[in-house]
Symmetry: C2
Subunit: 338 residues, 2 copies
Amino acid sequence: MATLADVARRAGVSPATASRVINGSSKPVAEELRDRVLRAVADLRYVPNAHAQLLARPQRSVVGVIVHDVSDPYFAEVTRGLQRVATQRGRLLIICNSYRDPVRELEYVELLRAQQVAAIVLAGSGYHDAAFTTLLNEKLAAYEATGGRVAVIGRHDHFGDAVMPANAAGGELIGRELLRLGHREIGVVAGPRVLTTITDRLTGLRRALAGEGRELPEERVRYADFSRDGGARATADLLEASPGLTAVVALNDSMAVGALALLRSRGILVPRDVSVVGFDDMPIAADVTPALTTVRLPLVELGVRAMSLALDPADGRPRVETLPAELVSRDSTGRASA
Amino acid sequence: MATLADVARRAGVSPATASRVINGSSKPVAEELRDRVLRAVADLRYVPNAHAQLLARPQRSVVGVIVHDVSDPYFAEVTRGLQRVATQRGRLLIICNSYRDPVRELEYVELLRAQQVAAIVLAGSGYHDAAFTTLLNEKLAAYEATGGRVAVIGRHDHFGDAVMPANAAGGELIGRELLRLGHREIGVVAGPRVLTTITDRLTGLRRALAGEGRELPEERVRYADFSRDGGARATADLLEASPGLTAVVALNDSMAVGALALLRSRGILVPRDVSVVGFDDMPIAADVTPALTTVRLPLVELGVRAMSLALDPADGRPRVETLPAELVSRDSTGRASA
DNA sequence: GCGCGCGAGGCAAGCGCTTTCCTGGGAGCG
DNA sequence: CGCTCCCAGGAAAGCGCTTGCCTCGCGCGC
């Protein structure tokens, strides 16, 4: 691997001069020397060692992103927003998948700090786990104390800049819509109980039901993996326990797709027999059959805002932005059959 | 930001000793000193500067990945495979999205080289652009010459380790299946013409047709964006130019989903009026309606193999692995209507 | 009791780069 | 013709860490 010293030697100049030419320093360098350096760079295929540069000139430019899983469409969209802003501002992104493992999340914060990233964006639901939350907050605080910037998406457990999707409001929208359609027997297909996002969405849903004097008993909520297969499994459970359901609320679209698949396999027609609602409005929501009624979250915008918060100097106090949820009515919901 | 020197000072030892404790060096350190160091680390929330470490101990451990777009399900799956192996071997991944921009691809190779990554994995179709290919090969060669490892997925334009999905064979499978079903009027909804993947898949398809003495005229192929909307647009074009089509082949599943949506909006029944075939077998392929007949590519495995090639020492000569394609018949294909 | 061996810990060099500060030579002025 | 000023270019000091090598002190053997 060619070094700056090699370039300098080959060009017959000092490393200082070579460095100045390569970085376009403000200090003037004679035309001839500049040419010689440039030629040497080309000949040797020289690429500066980024680590050495970072050591010598502590100018953090990389941003770390911790998400649950980039291949999950939810995070794929959020990441797209993060990327857009980062690229626009000339920042490189290091993307880390925690796969919903709190321990891994902690490790990644450490790792990103070691990488001297300029900012860390933490995307995805928090956990109902006080010990973990404390630990994480401590690590983030330590990082912020040394000049790092932190922004979180969808977690209220961190004190600092945050952008929050309106999870509870979204749940409420679903509840009101189902009530309006005459549904009284409602089941919920939920992701892992430990995620605060799940709790928030459920809370909103329950609030809407309570508005009409109804409630959602615990046995009408099934927790499973936040995935298509989890959705199918939970729906099967739900059906078995409460055969009279007229509506199934899935707490994300992947689970809703699983629910749809399971219902179809049982010959239950949607929405004639059972209505199905999703959450998130992932890109494919409109393409399944029947097209999924769901709550749209501005996923890309979530990323855009979070990265902006992370990159714009904190003007002192913590900033929290809430992005609205919106009901998107498609073909998977209809009037209650009973 | 606390440094090793701070830790050493606080623990009352030399930086050398502190370093040895922190890295678990083989050199023995007295129990008491070790404790003092560890306590200082905790007190100061010390995290070693990864860049300084990399400089001092040139032990590359990060791997760079360049994909077209992680949020595209194809790459999401491939990346999952890459991740799995990388994590297993204790490697951090830097994921870069080129968004199918050759220039950006070149820049990223440079950037990853500057980051001193241990290996670069380049995933995604190559381009029909000789100048670019030469340039890229040159850069990769320069990188390999300095001890870097390179593995590519789905590009035959790079000489070195590669894992190739059987694109042409997949195209052939589609062609044969459609012929078997009696289709003679076939249209193709293709992604960007400049991608070698497109050419390969088309070549396979044409080969199958040629086997029966048929051909695929150029006007039966529409090139568009490799996305859902691109698929819808291209399908509309195709229909307008050749109303008598009995089958539409989309060269990836996203485009197929777009095709399905457009056909539905026109009241054309699939597969009764027109059959639709996709390519890749993305996770949602089974969940659209009708469930998509497509060619399954072992996407995760593609990633797994590529990362393995990248991390296992090159035993001399370039290794090329081809992973098979497989036809998955679902509900979007049927006998030709005519 | 003296010398040697051994092992724990520290010194310092060096990884590749940037940047401050200094040097030396040329130009301009008196 | 000599002095000063200015400026291009270089020397060198780090950035934070690792590690080979040396030192020093102890314990043991003769």
